[in-house]
């Protein structure tokens, strides 16, 4: 065999070696997401303590009565939702404050306080489910007017935050 042939064979073998050493493999994962329609939140009813007397605590129950506050939520049927609140410490009337001693709440999948599930709104996040696409959250509380509480209309915002989980 000529020198040229030997060289050609050696190059071919080396090329084969290199090609054999390069090898491809593949692996798979999935990209995935769950799309849900946005949650809507509407004010169903205001939490109304009505007329309160200085020095006399006044309570509105969340689970009964027409003066409880109510939030109306809609979401995807069957989806889980976390609910939390931004709660004021006081109702205000100008520079005057009316302390809110405590908060109560309950939720239901129908627009009824009967049989609603109670929870403490100031305790953090509460979980619920949009069983049939709707959720109603009722709010109650206790205001504690001072003995010399100035007369006036006291009010504050209560904010409900909701997110799927």
């Amino acid at each position: 065999m000529s020198k040229f042939m030997k060289y050609a064979v050696a190059v071919a073998a080396a090329t084969s070696l290199t090609a054999a050493a390069a090898q491809a493999q593949s692996g798979n994962i999935n990209a995935k997401a769950t799309v849900l329609a946005p949650i809507t939140i509407a004010q169903g009813a205001e939490l109304d303590f009505g007329n309160v007397l200085p020095g006399v605590n006044s309570t509105v129950a969340a689970s009964s009565g027409a003066t409880a506050g109510r939030f109306d939520l809609t979401g995807v049927s069957g989806a889980n939702v976390n609910v939390s609140f931004t709660l004021p410490a006081n109702l205000t009337s100008g520079a005057n404050s009316l302390p809110i001693g405590s908060w109560t709440a309950c939720h239901n999948t129908s627009a009824s306080q009967a049989g609603c599930t109670g929870f403490t709104p100031s305790a953090g996040t509460t979980s619920a489910n949009f069983v049939s696409g709707a959720l109603y959250v009722y709010m109650g509380g206790t205001v504690s007017p001072a003995g010399l509480q100035p007369a006036g209309l006291y009010q504050a915002n209560v904010t409900l935050n909701a997110a799927y989980f």
């Binding site: 073998a13 692996g27 990209a31 995935k32 329609a37």
Partner: protein, 153 residues
């Protein structure tokens, strides 16, 4: 055929078989955007320890690999009836060796990456991205495959 050529051919065969036994590419974790609200773009960073996608690669210390990802442009609704765009940008992926002191090597997942296994024979590749569901995107689960092809040298 001369003996040297025969030897080289045999060496090539044995080397290929030997390397084939040492290479590994596997999907470890899906790129999971979780719950996405229709109309609201959602991003997952490649550094997200839970939601980012993850592949595992293994070869030999000092070996080289060329990595190419086959990326979807849309996720498809399971059961049909909708799609959702998904996109990737430069820096949405990085590869990280498992040796102590390894430094993340970020890259554009739409391109190719050449990587050398330094200090250890294995590495993990992490992938982020973003989905941009339209406001009218139907509710449901959306998915699409991501394929990593690795060529080992």
């Amino acid at each position: 055929m001369p003996r040297c050529a025969t030897f080289l051919m045999l060496a090539a065969f044995l080397l290929a078989r030997s390397l084939a036994g040492q290479t590994q590419v596997s999907g470890v974790r899906d790129l999971a955007f979780g719950i996405v609200i229709a109309g609201v773009p959602t991003t997952v960073a490649p550094t997200d320890p839970v939601k980012s996608g993850q592949f595992y690669l293994r070869y030999v210390t000092g070996g080289r690999v060329r990595v190419r990802l086959t990326l979807p442009t849309t996720l498809n609704r399971v059961g049909g009836g909708g799609t959702m765009p998904i996109s990737f940008r430069n820096g949405d992926a990085f590869i990280l060796g498992t040796a102590p002191g390894s430094v993340p090597n970020p890259f554009n997942p739409g391109g190719m990456l050449n990587y050398r296994f330094t200090g250890s024979p294995d590495a993990n590749l992490y992938l982020g991205g973003r989905v941009t569901p339209a406001a009218a995107t139907p509710s449901g689960t959306y998915t699409a495959p991501v394929i990593l092809t690795a060529t080992f040298f």
